[in-house]
Amino acid sequence: MSFQVMLQQLTTGFGSTLVIFFLTLLFSLPLGMVVYFGRVSRFKPLSWIVKAYISIMRGTPLMLQLLLWYFGPFYLWGMNIGGYKFTAIILGCSLNYAAYFAEIYRSGIESIPSGQYEAAQLLGYNKSQTFFKIVLPQVVKIVLPSVTNEVITLVKDTSLVYSVSYIEMFALAKQIAAAQTTVLPFVIAGVFYYIFNFVVAWVMEWFEKKMNYYH
């Protein structure tokens, strides 16, 4: 197999990697906020359930979670999981990352001084105005570096879907390497991951700079 063919195949695989990456972000970033609200809910049973959820998501390997999400429905209810693999992957990744994002949001929200809430209350802002106008914009600035970290980890974590035999760049690299007895596909895949993370870091840095209009 020529280098060019290899590159071509891995580029196609990289497309699948990107799809998993963007869909996971799309779902987990807002879902993390929902999880956060559950976590700090005054309704104790809900807060306990969400705490347990976060604990499990963070305390077990993502690869294991993916296997459970994919094979679970079959072993439990005999569900036909033929066309379900992609859904299971997005579900597994999103739920896992939402738990991490929820904790990042929590750290950000809790670092907003109580004086900001008090000032907002005195000025007559209602709860949702206070959250969206006063708290959230400040939280975004605070959590940006932590979110960047998590996003970069996600880029690399997309490779874990090979465990359920989903064909994306990493799975392809493994296949080609085994068939052609060469490490070249791994090197190429590594370069892809690296460049992509470089871009991610650059974009996030740009965001951080944009948020630097105040201290």
Binding site: L122, L123, Q129, I134, Q138
Partner: protein, 256 residues
């Protein structure tokens, strides 16, 4: 007879078993400037936080212009429905010790955002008023600055403008100069003095004794959760109350 803008009767408040306010009653008339002085821990700030509904009272009753804002019945704290609270809240403003400006808003937005989005007032009109307020505060050139670019004194003046922009009937100050050095204190006190000249109703918790004496119609000296002395500045500052004398004695020592 002038009406009482604010009435606080038999206010009690405790934190973790410590009785911070023990049956305190105050009233504020329209156009009046009331200063509350006293040693740290005497309950001055707690009283202000209770008045502004930031802290919930344990006992007593607070009303603004005859409308009850919070009261207790058989040891249960009661408040009127939400829309009534909103209405009551709109008649007072508070200037904090540490300003609590919104760091991500410009000076202009800090002042205008609530009038526009809470009171739903006309934008052009609000901006015009805000510019007038800024001019009064000597901050006309700071419209587009962010709080981090301002000195503490400037921040506090913006905070005063922000509170005034909502046209409150009564303005509370919680140690407005305690976070400032003497030089910056002067500029903030000058602004508050100018408000007193306009007969804006104010309740000021302060450690600035000379200021309190000059500016106030009435002074309250609080000690250990009760009002120890109350009266005109002359009455209070020449009071024979032992705690008051001790407190003022310490103050004069520090002044030298």
């Amino acid at each position: 007879m002038s009406t009482n803008l604010l009435e606080m009767n038999h206010i009690k408040k405790q934190f973790d078993g410590l009785q911070v306010l023990k049956d305190v009653s105050i009233h504020v008339e329209e156009g009046e400037v009331l200063s509350i002085i006293g040693p740290s821990g005497s309950g001055k700030s707690t009283l202000l936080r209770c008045a502004t509904l930031l802290t919930r009272i344990d006992g007593g009753e607070i009303s603004y212009m005859g409308k009850k804002a919070i009261w207790t019945e058989n040891d249960r704290v009661c408040m009127p429905p939400k829309n009534e609270i909103k209405e009551i809240q709109s008649c007072f403003g508070l200037v904090f010790q540490n300003f609590n400006l919104f760091p991500h808003f410009t000076v202009m937005k800090n002042i205008t955002d609530a009038p526009i989005h809470v009171q739903k007032r006309n934008k052009a009109e609000v901006y015009k008023e805000a510019r007038e307020l800024l001019a009064k505060m000597g901050l006309s050139d700071k419209e587009d600055a962010y709080p981090y670019q301002l000195s503490g004194g400037q921040c506090q003046r913006v905070a005063i403008a922000r509170a005034l922009a909502l046209n409150p009937k009564i303005l509370f100050f919680d140690e407005p100069t305690s976070a400032l050095d003497p030089e910056l204190t002067g500029e903030v006190l000058r602004v508050i003095r100018s408000l007193a000249d306009l007969h804006i109703t104010m309740v000021i918790v302060t450690h600035e004794m000379n200021f309190a004496r000059d500016i106030s119609d009435r002074v309250i000296f609080m000690d250990q959760g009760v009002i120890a002395v109350e009266g005109t500045p002359t009455e209070v500052f020449s009071s024979s109350n032992a705690r008051m004398k001790e407190f003022l004695g310490k103050f004069h020592q520090g002044e030298e």
